[in-house]
């Protein structure tokens, strides 16, 4: 099974703190990490490869330093990694990002499954996974919590997955190639092995620019993105709340007094 896992490098939110005075992000010393949901995507890819053979290729679009995220993914058991990096890609919204990723997947060719994390922790859109599926015209399953039966010997290959919805979960069958986006519930990611780390350190990571992908310049970056950021601002600072101390009975009575109108 040939698997492509799309990942994103994001600021590590554990480190993101808010300056209480200016209400802005304090980024000093913030490290960049693999988007948390993508860790489950990588693990699921590696597990499927271990079951069915084939290989796992990690793809990311980003600035040159995003290759750190790719090396981390390689240390977790992925076979190959490709960095999609070009000044022309900068400023891409989800439409243009999924365009670049899907074009890279086309160039790789012979793919059975594309796995993405549910959403990225910085943008929270959950739009790139289905966007890739739409660009490639592949079937999709979002919010996948379990990949159940996989039929590698049928034509086409098939897969049964569980999707977590608001009120429960549904079971759907997909023919491959397909795109799935996965949740935390799907697996427990492994730690990098020493051997994996060594291999990741010395791995050659090809960089593909738009020369390799050949996307029309009108469909790239700022120009190719239908959405534009007009303004960015910090939300109004929340006023300090009322904190009750003392005997439980009094505290509960005081709280009820405050909230009884909204109950």
């Amino acid at each position: 099974m040939n698997i492509v896992v799309c990942i994103k490098q994001v600021p590590d939110t554990v480190e993101v703190k808010i300056d209480p005075k200016t209400n802005t992000l304090i980024r000093e010393g913030v490290v960049a990490v693999i988007n948390p949901f993508d860790m489950y995507a990588i693990e699921e890819g590696v597990r499927l490869k271990e079951r069915f053979g084939g290989k796992v290729t990690i793809v990311t679009m980003g600035p040159p330093q995003a290759q750190d995220a790719l090396r981390d993914a390689l240390s977790l058991g992925a076979d190959e990694a490709i960095l999609l990096s070009d000044r022309a890609f900068a400023g891409s919204d989800t439409w243009a990002t999924s365009m670049v990723l899907s074009r890279a997947i086309e160039k790789l060719g012979d793919v059975d499954l594309i796995i993405c994390g549910k959403q990225a922790s910085d943008g929270d859109t959950a739009q790139v996974g289905p966007g890739i599926a739409a660009h490639l015209n592949f079937p999709q399953a979002t919010y996948v919590r379990k990949i159940d039966t996989v039929h590698m010997d049928t034509d086409p290959k098939m897969m049964v997955v569980e999707r977590l919805l608001e009120e429960g979960y549904e079971i759907i069958e997909l023919s491959l190639p397909a795109v799935v986006t996965v949740l935390k519930e799907i697996n427990e990611p492994r730690m990098p092995s020493l051997k994996g780390k060594m291999r990741a350190k010395s791995a050659q990571i090809p960089v593909w620019t738009n020369k390799e992908l050949g996307i029309e310049s009108t469909q790239l970056g700022l120009t190719g993105s239908p959405t534009q950021v007009m303004k960015i601002f910090t939300p109004p600072h929340k006023e300090g709340g009322k904190i009750f101390n003392g005997e439980p009975e009094t505290m509960v009575a005081d709280l009820i007094k405050e909230i009884k109108d909204i109950l």
Partner: protein, 396 residues
């Protein structure tokens, strides 16, 4: 391209603080942008008080955008029951339609749903585009997307809104790509720029620590998913008049590559988290799985759903579907009661937009108290039973 106007830059370093990717430094008291790091997000342009930074964008004419009319709402339903987020969207759509002097339409897809169309009209729809077909009985993104794309190409709406639900998000992403339309996720506020006659979409990023205003001026339709529970519902007026436009599902649109097999309702959540007005959530302080009984009692007394922090889920005290936070769900209830949750940033990003936050924790320094409207510093095993008693008395 991003340009620094050196004549206007005073070296105040506000842009350095505002840049989420640390791409800006000061060289000789002027801002210098490292193009290897910059993602052209535009945050620095917003914070600069001296107009020293400018985003230079090559505008390309994308064909006629003026032929598009009407505000459409995606009429999400399950088994013929219309999701309440649709009524929230209709309320907003009426407001936007007034500013643009146009109509409100609902795209209503499913099987055996025709008699529900009048509910949508009562809640504010002028037109209901009904596609009632056995092939649309269960939601499959592929079949639904093809249907909606064909409706859009035929009727050309200028705006499409959908709930930022699992279904809404999965569907509209698949629509925006072939239509080459702008799509903004999870908006919490929408309004019309009356001068430019475009939709201004406000959404949280970085877990709500930053707000961004997004526009799609050169592409149609302008599409957005909207967070559930943020906007008030449209009230029903049975005397309202509207038109039901019946459209056909073309059998060629059916995607044979996907098949719906089953839906299993989760027995453990009496009310689902995204629909709940009140969420009672438990963290590490709950101690063990058995103690979640206490939270279920409180949830039942108050009429809410049970949520959990990552710690509770990772300890196996409660299933993952209850997890609130960065690697779980984002919720926006009227009241969020955090019990024994310390309030790590990963949890806060999933619930800090709740209207009223109540925290119960024995540690007075727990970060949860910083976002709480009301905090009780005390032993939750003493506080919660009292709270249940008081609420029951109040409700009796």
């Amino acid at each position: 391209m991003i340009k620094v106007h050196n004549d206007k830059c005073v070296g105040c370093s506000l842009c350095i603080k505002g840049c989420p990717v640390a791409a800006i430094t000061l060289v000789n008291k002027k801002a210098v942008i490292d193009l290897n790091k910059c993602t052209l997000c535009g945050a620095c342009v917003s914070v600069c008080k001296f107009n020293a930074l400018q985003m230079v964008r090559q505008e390309i004419k994308r064909g006629d955008i003026f032929g598009y009319k009407g505000i459409w709402v995606y009429g999400e339903q399950r088994d013929g029951v219309i999701c309440t987020v649709v009524y929230e969207l209709l309320n907003k759509a009426r407001e936007l339609a007034k500013d643009l002097n146009t109509y409100v339409g609902v795209i209503f897809l499913g099987s055996g749903i025709e008699d529900k169309a009048k509910e949508l009209i009562a809640r504010g729809a002028d037109k209901v585009f009904l596609v009632d077909s056995p092939q649309l009985k269960n939601f499959l993104a592929e079949n639904y997307a093809t249907t909606v794309i064909n409706l859009v190409r035929k009727h050309k709406p200028e705006i499409i809104l959908a709930g930022a639900t699992t279904t809404g998000r999965s569907l509209v992403s698949r629509i925006a790509v072939p239509l080459y339309a702008g799509l903004t996720a999870d908006c919490t506020e929408l309004h019309i720029d009356k001068e430019k006659k475009i939709l201004v979409q406000t959404r949280p990023a970085f877990g709500g620590n930053i707000m961004a205003q997004i526009i799609s001026p050169n592409f149609r339709p302008q599409m957005a998913t909207v967070r559930h529970k943020v906007m008030p519902e449209a009230k029903a007026d049975p005397s309202r008049k509207g038109e039901v436009i019946k459209e056909k599902f073309d059998i060629e649109w059916e995607d044979k590559r996907v098949k719906f097999l089953d839906f299993i309702a989760e027995a453990t959540s009496t009310v689902n988290l995204s629909e709940a007005d009140i969420i009672v959530s438990g963290g590490r302080g709950m101690g063990d799985a058995a103690n979640f009984k206490l939270l279920e009692e409180l949830a039942e007394a108050i009429g809410g759903a049970v949520g959990a922090s990552r710690a509770s889920v990772d300890n196996g005290w409660i299933p993952y579907s209850h997890q609130v936070g960065q690697t779980g769900r984002t919720v926006c209830p009227k009241i969020y009661i955090a019990c024994g949750i310390s309030g790590q940033i990963q949890h806060l990003v999933g619930m800090q937009s709740a209207k009223t936050i109540i925290a119960i924790n024995k540690d007075p320094d727990a970060p949860i108290f910083k976002v709480a409207d009301y905090g009780i510093v005390g032993d939750l095993f003493k506080v919660i039973p009292l709270l249940i008693k008081q609420i029951k008395a109040l409700r009796a």
